[in-house]
Amino acid sequence: MDNLDAARLQMAFTLIFHIVFACIGMVMPFFMVVAHKKWLNTKNPIYLTLTKSWQKGVAIFFVTGAVSGTALSFELGLLWPEFMKHAGPIIGMPFSLEGAAFFVEAIALGFYLYGWNRLPKKFHWFTGIIVGIAGVASGILVVSANGWMNAPSGFDYVNGEFLNIDPIKALFNPGWFTQALHMTLAAFTATGFAVAGVHAFQVYKKKHKELHMKAFKIALTFGALAAILQPISGDISAKDIAKRQPVKLAAMEAHYHTQKGAPLYIGGIVDNENQTVSYKIEIPKALSFLAFGDFDAEVKGLNDFPEDVRPKNIALVHYAFQIMVGIGSLLLIVGLLFFISFKKQIWWQKKWFWILFAVLAPTGFIALEAGWIVTEVGRQPWIIHNIMKTKDAVTPMPGMVYSFYMYIVLYTVLTVAVTWLMTRQIKFLNNSKTV
């Protein structure tokens, strides 16, 4: 493995790990404050128990997300010094604001976790809201920085130099809104379904059914709503990519040959050498329509781009895209089912209903990771689209492969540890007599 591959894999691995914790840490506070509000309103002790268990989850996930985020912010420079040297000042705005938002989140979380019986009730509850809002804000800001890598703006690139830097224009780069919207909805979908799935499994096992059903409803209301809204954001993103990064769109669809009225491929096996996709479902003219809103629009194929600006791993981008869209559609349907179930409460007595949601628990996060693979691998070979290549940004320090191994071990251990802690939380909750 050469240095570049090791550095890329380390970055990918750290991000894949961090994203899960960051999402849960930013979305779960909302579930927590809803349960907390219900406790304040109804004085039903089940809600208090639920709030306090979720709060423990938030604390564990927040800290794991925070420390891996700290590591990530350093890794940007450690792995890609050349990138940060030039990009740092330009995308400083989202990062400095993110620092501030993250600070607010940590302060608010300090108040919330330790404020029980010490702070005025309403203020205490309100600090929980601040945790959530600040979390979402920092998420949006970080995604804006990534948006800039896809849609660089706010500077003039003259003879290899970055001149006339405008940090505010860079913050509001053309990619920020579509990406931030898509990611925020994805975070709510993934976390909502994951948390709901865990509680659905407990309902299925008939442990503290009342508590777990309440938890399930709160979490899935957020998750299902986001899943239902997501296609709109997906459509905006697709049209945006078609305009700004046509080569990424072509890679997503494994679309090799430029064509008017291009068909949409669903699934299929990519043969990059022969430039064919076999065993796919083909929908005529659909790609042209989805990308440009016109059934006969021309969609540029990969062959029309010089080889050195195409992503190398077309198959990976295509498969990841299929997984994301496939799961997204599934969760949309299941989300609708959930809302229909309020009319057909008989479903709640059925085992299949709870098994379905338990099985779906990890899918939201699988889709979310797949989406990031699409956007990150699809951006290659660029680290800053059309400006700087990833291979020119990597650290000259040899031996990155050892650092990569270290991070793999570290994050694998942490993943196992956090999962284990969560199962212990649930076991403890189920054994407690207070509910």
Binding site: T70, F74, G99, F111, I165
Partner: protein, 339 residues
């Protein structure tokens, strides 16, 4: 506006060293305690640090962001040549952060606590050492910036800058400083019967800091580290260190009397004085390489970037500082004068 940014950088650095330092130090105090005192310290540390430790550690992210946005080339040298110690610091920060939370939030308090405890204590001890080594490396004069990276060996470029006597002693000094800060803080927070434990610890820590500081100076003198001569030639730096040294006597007396707040104030002032002295001695050449120094002012980003950064910091500061003050006050951590 450049000076506003530098001011925030210095403030963040001071706050990080004091707040996160006390936090690291709490783990060190726990590490060097008898079994029974370890459990007492664990409880006290949790009560004292719990609400604020997360916020304490964010200062390093603020430092990082200010450096990479405002002083990209300066930051570039750090991440390139000090890659290894910074990675080790990150490993330590990660392990101790999760251990601190795991040991409190694990639903069952069983044998796994032993593992969390040791993870927390060891990483609390090792992380500040590596952090201090990173600081030391900036001043040791071992960093080589070659024209072609291939012309130098891996050891010379990426290991020698931080793995040398001076840096190691700075690392140990920093760890001792952390333990010192923590034990002083704990005097004020412990219950009456536990207080003597921390009074004793504070005395040991004070002596250790003095010895380590002395060793750093001896080493700089013997190996002709340029930082020392810059330090000795600077009258302001010397004055500040002298004041700080004189403060040791009232401090030791205050420790002896187990005064909670006076002790804390003396300590804070002392540490701030030493840090400012080190900064003044070197400013603005904050990295000393093998053949030159890097002037942080010359690595500053274009004016427009600095202006936006400065405004962001002022606005962010206006939101964060009152929040932080309120957090500390709500959990009764701000007391300046003895009642």
């Amino acid at each position: 506006m450049l000076y506003v940014v530098l001011f925030f950088l210095a403030i963040s650095l001071l706050l990080y060293v004091i707040l996160a330092g006390a936090d690291f130090g709490a783990g060190i105090v726990e590490l060097f305690s008898s079994d029974q005192n370890q459990q007492i310290t664990k409880k006290t540390v949790y009560r004292v640090m719990g609400p604020v430790w997360e916020a304490n550690h964010i200062w390093i992210i603020i430092i990082l962001v200010i450096l990479w946005v405002g002083f990209p080339e300066f930051y570039n040298v750090l991440v390139l040549y000090l890659h290894i110690p910074i990675t080790l610091v990150l490993l330590g920060i990660t392990l101790r952060g999760v251990a601190f939370v795991f040991r409190h939030y694990d639903a069952f308090k069983d044998k796994s606590q032993i593992l969390y405890d040791w993870m927390f204590r060891i990483s609390s001890f090792v992380t500040p050492i590596f952090l201090g080594m990173t600081f030391g490396a900036m001043l040791s004069g071992h960093i080589i910036i070659p024209e072609h990276i291939e012309s130098q060996s891996f050891y010379n470029l990426f290991i020698a800058p931080w793995f040398n006597g001076f840096s190691v002693f700075v690392g140990l000094f920093f760890a001792a400083l952390c333990a010192f800060l923590a034990s002083i803080l704990l005097i004020g927070e412990a219950s009456d019967e536990e207080r003597p434990i921390y009074v004793r610890k504070s005395r040991i820590a004070t002596v250790t800091v003095i010895i380590m500081g002395f060793l750093v100076l001896c080493f700089s003198y013997l190996y002709d580290i340029r930082f020392l001569s810059n330090f000795v030639k600077n009258p302001y730096a010397l004055t500040l260190v002298a004041i700080s040294a004189l403060l040791i006597f009232p401090l030791l007396r205050s420790i002896k009397l187990a005064r909670k707040i006076t002790t804390r104030t003396f300590t804070g002032v002392q540490v701030v004085l030493i840090l400012i002295a080190a900064l003044i001695a070197q400013y603005p050449n904050l990295i000393i390489t093998s053949d030159a120094s890097i002037n942080i002012l010359k690595t500053a980003a274009p004016d427009k970037v600095i202006n936006v950064l400065g405004i962001s910091l002022i606005v962010g500061g206006c939101i964060i500082l009152p929040g932080l003050y309120h957090l500390f006050r709500s959990f009764k951590m701000i007391k300046i004068f003895e009642r």
